[in-house]
């Protein structure tokens, strides 16, 4: 069955055919047109701070070794010996100037270059320069966030991030030193569901009131109100599949420095002092009112205020959520709370994410039922509007982010149509 999908039929303006989530052939096609084409988030430079540090990552379904080579450059190497294909690295992280394949003892530098072939007399004419580890075709980073793309050409990382580039600036500004660090280690949380259910849910402002009522009801949490009917928060579609729950309008209305973090400036005196010294009183106050962003960078990086998620598709019905607490350089008192709140919220036992994951799995099962054929994503279509930057915005509970994701999805999956900005 090698049919070309009929996208007009599968993707409609107000809903998506259920098979888009569940069809194994479409999933294979996504690996080609999305995961092996577009920019995909891999890791953060702070995970390999020293020369020859390495950490095992993935680019979509593909395992990748992220290293810092002897020259200090971050490299994305494929974990496959250029000789017979054995994995050259089986450790989660470490420091190694050389990776020696245990099969026939070929060795490779931290930049992927082939250093040594054992019993070299058998290879009189081999050009070692051609036999290094394969690398991800293009590597680029912004504010320390390292992305890879297997496409030799196409939009640059900055073009791909587009309007969402500013979100990274906003994020790192919460550090008095202007940098974030990914140093708290990751939980890996597996769900039996298609990756796009997570992609859409990360900026779905409609569900928290319902899915998370069990914890909002018993914890002293202001999160529920952010997504309530009275909230001034908005949803935004940056184009290129990047979507946001912009909570700043509500935080500005409340006008409480550190209110975004459920605390007050008085309880974090070290942090507040450093922020004022770094940015001046007025700018520091604004940053501490606005807080950190809640944004889903297509297709796999979710910056969720205090934590960072990386979505890894494993199969049409299996996805791993890698999650860690964000750490802000120069802010140890803030970071301790970031870790504690993150650990409470996320992962297999998390107060929030266990319930989200339950919904992902039930939704996946639900979508296997044959009717109705389509989901329904029209919420708030009548009140879509544009912000000053020209980006589509809507109320916080609207389906606007989903509609933006599907517009971009179609532009990637149906590449013969004109390559236009999906915004």
């Amino acid at each position: 069955m090698k049919q070309t999908p009929n996208w007009n039929e599968l993707l409609q303006d107000d809903g998506v055919h259920g098979s888009v989530y569940t069809d194994p052939q479409l999933y294979e096609s996504e690996l080609r047109h999305i995961w092996r084409t577009t920019w995909v988030y891999v890791g953060h430079e702070s995970e390999v701070p020293r020369r020859h540090d390495f950490v095992m990552k993935s680019l979509g379904p593909e395992p990748v070794i992220m290293t810092r080579d002897g020259d200090g450059q971050v490299q994305l190497l494929l974990n496959r010996c250029s000789h017979r294909g054995n994995q050259v690295c089986t450790q989660a992280r470490g420091n190694a100037s050389v990776f020696t394949c245990p099969y026939h003892a070929w060795s490779f530098g931290s930049d992927g270059a082939l250093k040594h072939m054992s019993l070299p007399d058998g290879y009189p004419d081999v050009n070692k320069a051609e036999r290094g580890l394969a690398k991800v075709t293009r590597v680029a980073s912004y504010r320390g966030f390292v992305f890879g793309s297997f496409a030799a050409s196409g939009p640059s990382l900055e073009e791909h991030l587009g309007g969402a580039l500013e979100v990274f600036d906003r994020l790192v500004a919460v550090s008095p030193e202007g940098e974030i660090e990914v140093t708290a280690g990751f939980l890996q949380h597996k769900v039996t569901a298609n990756w796009k259910l997570m992609l859409e849910n990360e900026t779905d402002g409609y569900h928290p009131t319902f899915v998370h009522s069990s914890i909002f009801g018993v914890a002293d949490s202001g999160i529920g109100k952010l997504y309530g009917r009275q909230s001034a928060a908005i949803s935004r579609d940056y184009g290129n599949g990047h979507t946001e729950c912009d909570l700043r309008p509500q935080f500005r209305k409340l006008d409480v420095p550190m209110g975004w973090f459920g605390t007050t400036a008085e309880r974090l005196p070290d942090y507040v002092g450093k922020m004022r010294a770094a940015y001046g009183d007025e700018r520091a106050r604004q940053i501490m009112i606005d807080g950190t962003p809640h944004v889903m960078i297509f297709p796999n990086l979710f910056i969720a205020e205090i934590q960072l998620f990386v979505l890894q598709p494993v199969a049409v019905d299996e996805t791993i959520q890698h999650v860690t607490a964000l750490q802000f350089k120069g802010a140890p008192d803030l970071n301790r709370r970031m870790r504690q709140q993150t650990m409470g919220s996320v992962g297999p036992a998390g107060f929030l994410l266990a319930d989200d994951s339950e919904i992902y799995e039930r939704t996946y099962q639900g979508l296997l039922a044959s009717a109705p054929a389509y989901t329904f994503t029209s919420r708030g279509a009548h009140r879509e509007r544009r912000d000053d930057g020209g980006y589509r915005i809507g109320d916080i509970t609207d389906d606007l982010p989903s509609r933006g994701i599907w517009r971009h999805y179609r532009s990637l999956m149906e590449p013969r149509t004109s390559v236009e900005q999906s915004a």
């Binding site: 140093t183 939980l187 949380h189 069990s214 993150t342 266990a354």
Partner: protein, 172 residues
């Protein structure tokens, strides 16, 4: 493992036979309360300074610096129970069907005010979409409060804690 070995070599378990039987009874009781979702009775086993810890990525990580699956102080243990009691904790609606076998109960070192205990558990979980076998090495710090043993610390080391895990929203 050296500590566990020491408990055999120095014969602490043998010299404290009555205490060992009491500790075993405590550990079995605690596991039974978890299997039966007896949340309040389970919560009552904790001391006021109790810490419930389930590390990720090994058993020797620093929970003050690195992500754990659970790292609950006493108030967060209470919050966990309150969430379960709402009946809207979706990841436990319906509640998992659980049965565990506990074994290898040992007193580690010389018991004092704090009694250090190790035990293994194999837990079979039946949930709507999957049956899961969880293998754990457990460490307890027990303390006598008003004549009864209470838990001041429970560390649950899932043997597969460095891998991707599905939901685990029941008490383990």
């Amino acid at each position: 493992m050296t500590q566990a070995g020491e408990s055999v070599r120095d014969g602490a378990g043998l010299r404290h036979g009555d205490l060992l039987r009491e500790v075993e009874a405590f550990v079995y009781h605690e596991g039974n309360l978890q299997d039966r979702h007896e949340y309040d009775a389970w919560e009552a086993l904790w001391t006021d300074d109790g810490v419930y810890w389930i590390p990720a990525n090994g058993e020797d990580i620093d929970p003050e610096k690195e992500m754990s699956i659970i790292y609950d102080n006493r108030s967060r243990i209470a919050l966990r129970i309150r969430q379960l009691h709402t009946g809207r904790r979706l990841a436990q609606t319906p509640k998992s069907n659980l049965v565990r076998v506990m074994s290898n109960v040992e007193i580690v070192g010389e018991p004092a005010e704090d009694i250090h205990v190790r035990a293994n558990a194999i837990i079979f979980e039946s949930a709507p979409r999957r049956d899961t076998l969880w293998g754990t090495r457990n460490e307890y710090t027990l303390r006598r409060v008003a004549g009864s043993l209470r838990m001041a610390r429970k560390k649950v080391v899932l043997v597969n804690n460095a891998k991707a895990l599905p939901n685990m929203a029941f008490l383990i």
